[in-house]
Symmetry: C3
Subunit: 348 residues, 3 copies
């Protein structure tokens, strides 16, 4: 294990990107301090290798994908999906130690998942499904963002709904007062944190009214399900009184957010997000609108979170004021602390 | 006190900017390693707070000014002029420790002054006046420069008049020989250093002739009054023989420079300057010309001083050759060393 | 000696640039961690001084060349070719310690050579000649590249001909198979490494056919002569069977490369290269073409080598796979290790 591995829970699946990101060229990405190259061979198979040729250390991500694997762009060594070197130009017999580390990589529901644990260990489970990427009622879009901030600051943000009224006034926020007066219910298990807020009979925010023909006030909901690797956020609204907020099959305008937050290093992170929505028959191109508005919203978050991190670095070692809206984020941090303690106990 | 506070004299007023810089938006600035946000409420009152929300540490300078104070742009906490939190959205009772540090800030003669000392101490005096910003005989302009160099290198520069002939040939310099042959008189008290040079019967430099209809040779003067927080530089010229250089009411072309040099960090500084001049009745727009020429001149200094600092970092620990023109700068450095020793004695 | 001097062999001539780079303005360059200013006075004499005025430490490279030497751009101190200060404006008597270090600098065959050793030592030999810059059969061009990578990674590259088929496919590479199947003969002495590869009856690469009217297959050669300060690479081709590859006077298309690789710091380097060619009478402007293609080729190398270095920094302390094509580079590294051991023995 490398020096900083204790900063991240080990032996787990993390989001590595989206299926559509792996085309003809290899893709360089670092997860949990492991610099990798992801690639897809013409037969569709995907792989993640250490992004370093074992010969002269050029990043393999500067190489070229071939039917049998990935060829280094300096001296032409060819590596297969398992990280073994299968060709050294000019050499008859390939040395046994000519290989690079391979990481388990899976593609499921258009999400790429990478497993990072001890070098000789293998995953005992498969990465989770995500049905809304293939649900016929929904259409979706998304993007891969990079953050100059630690991943847990993004957790804080997605588990905290009160910032919408100050950071996202122009998109999904709406009136700040609505957010802060609505009741917040936070629950948790050892592996999950759930934050729910219902805002009955409230004014729909700009993105909502642009996407759905509400008649007036709405019954609005925000339901956040957090796990280590990703967060599912179900938000939406229906005409006030047109259904029950407790009904999982309720109608109206839905936004189903997938938020895969994967640490890159101790101080930087990847944020892989999609938003799926149920287009209203009278509204054309609503998915594109919702995705664009969501992207704008997440760019607002990025500006705030990166500034927050720079400021935490300017004021090191200072304590923060705790207020009740911090309940969800605090539970998520405790959950991760417990996982890190478990890892430390195993390593000891 | 933070780790580097010993680098700067404590318990003193420093220039924080100019009155016209504080408009509707808060202004982020760091002085003596203290990161602050300056703001002006609609009633005109100005304040300086620590630029860090006590909740999640976002810079308050990313927030919004309201009639009662400054509201954080993440979760909406509102802080008053004294740094107390007067509103936490969603909370009835505000925790007593919800506050941020406030720094004494004054506005006087269009200059903003900030006092930086121990956290629980208060200033015993008021910042100095500067009459030339309201003297009807003068009009002025100026700017706020940022230096990637320690503040004392700027002191060296303003107290050293011999560089004019090499750095500022095109503006206020004139013939190098004039500067180096003229007598320099340096005097000092524990809190002041004064450098005076008279250049009787010399050729006026380009900026002078552009601003004033001299008949030919001039009697020229340069008088520098240095104190810790700022330097007042009175330069000018009158037609040769038309008056006495010893007469404080002498006529001719005057430039009254205000140079507020405030350390930002140990290695960076703010340079707040204005230049006031007495426009000749036959010359239109002379103030604008003088301010523009002065800005060009100070940009020349900035290029030199920042290059000097980068070079001092490339050649660490090397001694410098002392020559007589260094008398003024050396006295200023001794003055600051004495203040730092006083501070150290108090802290011990 | 400074802290990192042990990283580089001492008391030797290194390439400092080309004659045509020294015009009216001084040139700032660092070699082996020694920051220097190079300049040429109007009489044609060239010098290298420490790039730091002994007064206030401004880089002398910001100053102005005068007939008698180089004048500092801050306070006007004037230094002669030997580094002595010969004028301090305003001072009658120049202090004896007003001087800066001078480095032996020579101009030979349009190459500038600088000698770097102990401060009080002098070179016992003269820098080498390079005849192809004045050979009437050849015309040449070149450039000065800067590398964000240690100099020995560039040695690896010039001594390794097998990368041509992967990095330089579009220019001088040609078919990768040709390179890897051809026999490589590596020989060395204590001060030289020589790598020769002949590719008889092979297809000429794009640059070759653009520059020379070959009839078809060619007998091609690559001959690399490496010494510490520079590498001479003779490559070329003649119509297959039209002469002997063992004949030093053989005809056909010749490219004579000069590759001066000088460390700037432990992690950066200068790469001064020229390529001389013998233009075919039927091909106009072939030199310009060959120089442009060579520049493209070397830019491809630069991209690879800088990426390699960044990756080596990402994966510190990892061992590399050795394969037979590494023989030449390995001998060069051993040669330099031996020189460093000699230096250490002298210093001890």
């Amino acid at each position: 294990m490398n020096a900083t591995s204790n900063a991240f829970p080990q032996g787990r699946w993390w989001v590595a990107g989206f299926a559509w990101e792996l085309g003809e060229k290899p893709l360089a990405r670092t997860f949990l301090d492991h610099a990798m190259v992801l690639f897809r061979t013409p037969d569709g198979a995907v792989s993640a290798l250490e992004d370093r040729c074992c010969h002269k250390e050029l990043p393999l991500s500067m190489g070229a994908v071939e039917p049998r694997g990935l060829r280094c762009g300096y001296h032409g060594l060819l590596f297969d999906h398992g990280g073994g070197c299968i060709e050294v130009p000019g050499l008859e017999r390939i040395p046994g130690r000519a290989r690079v580390r391979a990481y388990p990589l899976r593609e499921r529901d258009q999400i790429l998942w990478v497993w990072i644990g001890a070098q000789d260990a293998s995953p005992r489970d498969e990465p989770p499904a995500y049905s809304f990427h293939s649900d016929p009622r929904y259409t979706f879009g998304g993007d891969a963002f990079h953050y100059d901030a630690p991943y847990q600051l993004i957790h804080d943000n997605v588990l905290d709904l009160s910032h919408l009224g100050y950071v996202h006034l122009k998109t999904i926020g709406g009136n700040p007062g609505v957010h802060t007066s609505a009741q917040l219910i936070t629950t948790s298990t050892p592996n999950r944190v759930r934050v729910v807020r219902w805002m009955p009979n409230s004014a729909p925010p700009p993105t909502y009214t642009a996407a759905w023909p509400f008649r007036g006030a709405v019954d609005r909901w925000q339901e956040v399900d957090f796990s280590l690797s990703h967060c599912e956020i179900w938000t939406g609204a229906m005409d006030a009184g047109s259904g029950s907020l407790e009904d999982p099959q309720r109608g109206g305008f839905h936004m189903r957010g997938f938020h895969g937050v994967t640490p890159e290093t101790a101080h930087t992170a990847h944020y892989f997000w999609t938003v799926a929505t149920n287009p209203h028959p009278d509204k054309q191109d609503v998915t594109q609108l919702v995705v664009q508005q969501t992207a704008l919203t997440f760019e607002e978050d990025k500006v705030v979170i990166e500034a927050q991190w720079r400021n935490q670095c300017r004021f090191p070692g200072r304590s923060q004021l705790y207020i009740p809206i911090d309940d969800g984020p605090t539970r998520a941090r405790r959950m991760i602390d417990a996982l890190l303690r478990e890892d430390a106990a195993v390593t000891r």
